[in-house]
Structures are given as C-alpha cells and as structure tokens.
C-alpha cells in the first residue's frame, strides 16, 4: 500500500469489514462495483488529494467477510451507516459506482439529512424503463468485467493479464451479488419511491457507452432525486471510474467541494 493509504478492519454486525482510507478534508465514502475493487485506483488517489476518502470492501466482497445473514443491498446501506458512526464520520459525501451506486442511493434515501453530496455513477438499483441491467449470470467473469469498459485497452490497463486470484475474487463477488440481488436482478422496486426524500444535492454520471446499466436508469435517478444534475462522460463504458478517472475525479471533486 503506497504512502497515504491506511487499512483497517471494523467489526460490524458480526463480521469484519475491510476499509482503506487516505487524505484529509471533507469525508467521502466511495462504494465499489459488483466486481469488487482493485486495492488502488487513480480515481481514488485523485479524490484523496482533496478529501478524506474511505473505500470499504462491501460485506462479502474482496477482503470483507461474508455475513451469512445479509439478504439485500439495503442491509449493506445499514452496515455502512454503522461504519460511519464507528469511524466518527459526519456529513460524508457518497460516491457510488455501479452496484455501489445502488447502496449509496439507499443510504441517502434512508437518512436524507445525513449527507453532504450524493454521486451516482452508472448506478444499479432502479429498473431501467428501457433495456435491462446486463445479466452477469450467463457470461464468464472476464466477459462481464470487460463489458464494463468501452475501450479494451482501459480494461487491460486496470486488470492486465487476469490472474487466477482475480477470477476467484470475481466468483466470490458474483456469489455475494446473487445472494443479495438475485431477484429482482440488481434493482429494488421500492427505492424509486423513496428517492424524493433525499436532501443532498446529487450528481448522476453515466458513461455514454455503458453496456451494463442502460442510461434510462440514470434518467430515473436524475428525475426522482429532488436536486440532481445529469452528466454524461464521453468515451466511457459502465466503469467510468476506471476508464475515465481524471474526468470523473474532476466532476466529483468540483461537486463535493461546493458549499
């Protein structure tokens, strides 16, 4: 782990939760994709230059233990509220990436007054009015991860030659996603009705080439959140954070820095 980033395990709801943290300033909780997260990403580093950035591994993903009882992403939202309380973090901004966007939206909907800013990037969690959320169950781990990128070179930059350890991790991530988001697949039927309560100003970001979550889902978020702006990032697939890290970091930094 390079200078600046520290690791810590929190005991939350009976399971060990792995969290990395760096930087100082306003707190930002970054919630990763359903494919887990590499240890370090240029996007995380860019945010840590301005903010106090916390990147947990979702319970059951990566280095965090699997809570056998966990049944829904809303449970993860509650776990993260517990984490923020434990870490003494107030008025965090939430940056949710893909599947992590669903969790961020749940958190903001459940505690409308708690957060400074909400950023959803290619967020799952609502049923797209047009198209469907890509079903990972019928493709291989590599094909699913790759479908998150518009440019093959960007995928290679992040994952290189995919190792067996990475494949194992993707299988564990996928199993956890099945355990908690199998049906309805990767969306909630109740979340859209709760988004109207969110008080944090929101930024909804979508890659213009997102093959995983149709843009129409982003439009639902932008429409339903009371104070939301919709931004499209050109030349990016679903994983904007990994494919266009500078562009996304600029957007997020400016937005979170607002008063």
């Amino acid at each position: 782990m390079a200078a600046g980033w520290s690791e810590r395990e929190y005991d939350i709801a009976g399971s060990k939760l792995h969290v990395t943290r760096a930087g100082s300033g306003r707190p930002v909780l970054v919630l990763h994709h359903d494919t887990g997260s590499p240890e370090r990403l240029p996007f995380y580093d860019a945010l840590a230059e301005r903010f106090d950035v916390l990147v947990p591994h979702h319970p059951g993903y990566g280095k965090s233990e699997r809570p056998q009882w966990l049944r829904h992403p809303r449970d993860i939202a509650a776990v993260y509220q517990w984490l923020l309380a434990e870490a003494g973090v107030e008025r965090a901004s939430l940056v949710g990436l893909g599947f992590g966007g669903w969790i961020a939206a749940e958190m903001a909907a459940l505690a409308p007054r708690d957060f400074h800013r909400l950023v959803l990037v290619g967020a799952m969690g609502v049923k797209p009015p047009e198209g469907d959320i890509f079903d990972q169950a019928i493709v291989s781990y590599i094909d699913y991860a790759r479908a998150g990128f518009h440019d093959e070179a960007a995928f290679a930059r992040v994952y290189g030659e995919v190792s067996t350890d990475q494949l194992v991790e993707w299988d564990i991530c996928r199993e956890m996603s099945f355990r908690i988001a199998w049906k309805p697949y990767m969306h909630s039927q109740t979340l859209p009705h709760l988004l109207g309560g969110v008080r944090a100003p929101s930024l909804v970001v979508w890659g213009d080439q997102d093959q995983i979550v149709p843009r129409s889902a982003g439009e639902v978020y932008a429409r339903s959140l009371p104070n939301a702006r919709f931004e499209i990032v050109a030349g990016s697939g679903h994983c904007v954070d990994m494919e266009q890290p500078e562009a996304l970091a600029r957007l997020v930094t400016a937005f979170v820095a607002e008063n």
Partner: protein
C-alpha cells in the same frame, strides 16, 4: 435387486447443426428450434415405451427432468409419473428426481407426489435432486442458496407427508402459515426417497446421514467405489452399516439383436456433442454459489477456458473401456453387467437403454431384450451375490425409523 428402465427422453428432432454453429445446445439455445409436432410424437413414443417395458417384465420406471435443453425433453417428471401411475399396474415409479430447490412451494410438490403415490397404489419412489446449475437459471431460482433450499424443502416436504396438519412452517427459505395438504401418501411412513448424484460429495454425505440410498449416475467403476467409501464412513458415524440396499447405479446399457447394431446405437449416448447435457457455458452449469467453495479455484479456470472440464470429455472408446457404456446382445452384455455388480455391489440398478436418435423400433427391441433376458439374469446374479434391495429387506425409509442403530443419535427423535 431392483432393476429399472431409464431414458433421458431426448428431443432428438432438434437441428444439431444449428447448435454446433451457435456453440451451445442448452439454456440459451432458442426454443424456436423446438418442433411441437415432433415433440408430440416423441412424448407419446416415450410413454408407450415405458408401458411396453412393463409388459416385457421391467419392474421399475426411472424418470427425471431437465429444462431448456434438447438432451432431455421431460420438463416435469411428475407429469409422466402421473400418467404411468394410472395406466400401468406393477412397476415402481422411480423419480430421480424432483429438483427441490426449484420448488417455490414444496407443499404443492408434497401434494402432487402424494397423489401419484395414491393413484399408483403405493408404487412411488420419490427421489430428489438439487437440479443442475442451468436449471436454476432456467427457473429464476437463486443458485447461491441451492443446497440450503434443497435441505429445507426436503424437511418441509417430509413434514407435510408425516405430520398431522394444520401446522406452521417459518423457515429461512420457505414460510407457510398453514400446512395441511388434503392428499397424503399411501405408503407409510412415507414413500422411499433415493438420492441420485454425480459429483458433489456434500450430497453423498447428506444422503448417508438420512440413510437414503444414493444412486451414482453413470460414474466409472472406480469413482463409484470412492462414492461408497464416503457413504459407508458417514453411515458408520451415524450408527448403521451401509450395504447394497444403500447403493444404486445408473448405467448406459444398450442391447440389440446384433453387436453391430448395438454399437451403432450405443454411440448415441454421446449424441449431445459428446457432452452429457449438451454444449453449455461453464457458468451456466455451475453458477456462482452453486458448487462447493472447494472447487472454486479449479472451476474459475475452466470457466474462462484455461482448464479442462472437471468432468472431462471422455471418448466413446474410453467410456466403453472404463465400464460407463455397455452394449451388445444379451449374451455379451450380461457378463459385463455381472462384473459391475461384483465390483460395485448395488441393489438398485437403472439401465439407461436408449438415447439420441435411436429409432423407436430399436428402442423397443432394446426394452424387450432388457425386460425378458437381461433384467431377469441381473436379478439372479443379484440373488447369488446377496444384493438385496430396500423392498426385499424392508429397510427403514429414513434414519429416524431405524431399529438397528449402534448408538442412537439425536436424529432418531
């Protein structure tokens, strides 16, 4: 020895060339290629074959089910079981079986099976399976809870059969506030349950703990012996000695009136491009969470094309050599079966007679020769080797009905 006739009930009228071009013949292989005219003919042929089998002396019908694939067109084994329950008289109706995790309502399954048991006048053997990976995807059932659902559905179903209703079930995967089915099995305490399987050790262990016979599906002789080793150890741990009555075996056996014709037809056992269940993506056959975590590392490499299938893709010749496929005339087949019986000592034996595009006429010849010559010979060999089946021994339906346990475990409530 209990010997049954089985066919996978192939949807043999599908365009194999299209499947080869697309690269898969399961789950996502479009049903626009399912021809219901051919389907109607085949369903009726298969039904008539089972009825004919009883006339030729076959004492058991083994049925199974699969979904979304031409390798097996029986989408609901209870449908064929219901029909056979009414139109046949003596043969056992052996379901191997109903995929429990696919049931959203195991009580309904308990009702269907109770009806089949009553209509057949007590001829039901009700096997249960987990269902293949692609079965979970085909029915929208969460593969990550497959084993939990299997065990809980089993417990609920047996409760629905044996406990007087109404009662309440508040489980993890199943919640029923009123369980009180007005259809209960004729056989008491409940119909025999046999558990078929291929790969997973957990299922063997679970079956042994229940004292349910385990039916090894088309495994090699060596693999079968290893299965019994696991089963026997668990049996000893829970207090009984496993014997032939706990062991079943399903084998691909085609007989005909000439060696040449038998070989030609036996090659049809590899009709699904050499794959048992057709061409499929590994993540369909084994979705995340479906298999034991012990296999994860090996499996993910296979799933992305970096390793061979754990099942392998043995050639016809290999399968003949290791005893998985047997063919010939009754005269040449019986000694081969004797060897398997001597080596693996099962008391339950499924003969998977016909597959693929074997003609109706050849299938009926096979059934006639099995019923009239092969099966009687096997029963004789079974007697000679002391391979007594659960019916002959009246062995307990479940561990909890045992009267011979070395130590009485908690399970014997």
């Amino acid at each position: 020895m209990h010997v049954m006739y089985f066919t996978e009930q192939p949807m043999s009228a599908y365009p194999a060339n299209v499947g080869l071009e697309i690269g898969h013949t399961a789950l996502m292989f479009s049903n626009k290629y399912f021809d219901p005219v051919a389907g109607s003919r085949l369903y009726n042929e298969y039904l008539e074959q089972y009825i004919y089998a009883e006339e030729q002396g076959v004492e058991g019908f083994m049925l199974n089910e699969h979904h979304n694939a031409p390798f097996c067109m029986q989408a609901k084994c209870n449908v064929f079981a219901s029909i056979l329950a009414a139109v046949t008289k003596k043969a056992k109706i052996v379901l191997l079986g109903n995929p429990l995790p696919l049931a959203e309502n195991p009580v309904r399954l308990a009702e269907e099976l109770a009806m089949i048991d009553m209509i057949s006048k007590g001829r039901l053997v009700s096997g249960f399976v987990r269902g293949g990976g692609q079965e979970q995807l085909a029915t929208g059932v969460n593969p990550a809870f497959n084993r939990e659902r299997f065990e809980e559905a089993h417990d609920l179903l047996v409760a629905a059969w044996t406990r007087q209703g109404p009662f309440r079930w508040e489980g993890t995967h199943y919640q029923h506030r009123v369980v009180n089915p007005w259809a209960v099995p004729l056989q008491k305490p409940y119909p025999r349950v046999w558990i078929p399987g291929v790969l997973s050790k957990e299922t063997i262990i679970w079956a042994a703990k229940q004292r349910y016979p385990y039916i090894a599906l088309n495994t090699s002789i060596e693999a079968t012996k290893n299965i019994w080793k696991v089963y026997d150890e668990v049996a000893r741990e829970v207090g009984y000695e496993a014997g032939p009555e706990n062991r079943g075996y399903l084998q691909q056996v085609h007989v005909s009136d000439s060696e040449e014709k038998a070989e030609k037809n036996a090659r049809q056992f590899l009709w699904m491009q050499g794959e048992f269940t057709g061409l499929a993506h590994p993540v369909w056959s084994s979705p995340s969470g479906y298999s034991s975590p012990d296999h994860r590392r090996q499996f993910v490499q296979f799933a992305v094309g970096r390793a061979e299938s754990p099942r392998g893709r043995p050639t016809f010749e290999t399968q003949v050599a290791d005893g998985r496929v047997i063919f010939g005339t009754p005269k040449t087949v019986i000694p081969k079966l004797r060897r398997v019986l001597e080596e693996t000592r099962p008391s339950i034996y499924g003969l998977w007679g016909n597959d693929g595009t074997v003609s109706n006429e050849d299938a009926r010849t096979c059934i006639r020769l099995l019923g009239q010559e092969v099966m009687p010979a096997m029963r004789e060999i079974g007697n000679e080797l002391g391979l007594k089946d659960p019916f002959q021994l009246n062995s307990p339906v479940h561990l909890r009905y045992s009267t011979d346990l070395k130590h009485m475990p908690q399970a014997a409530e």
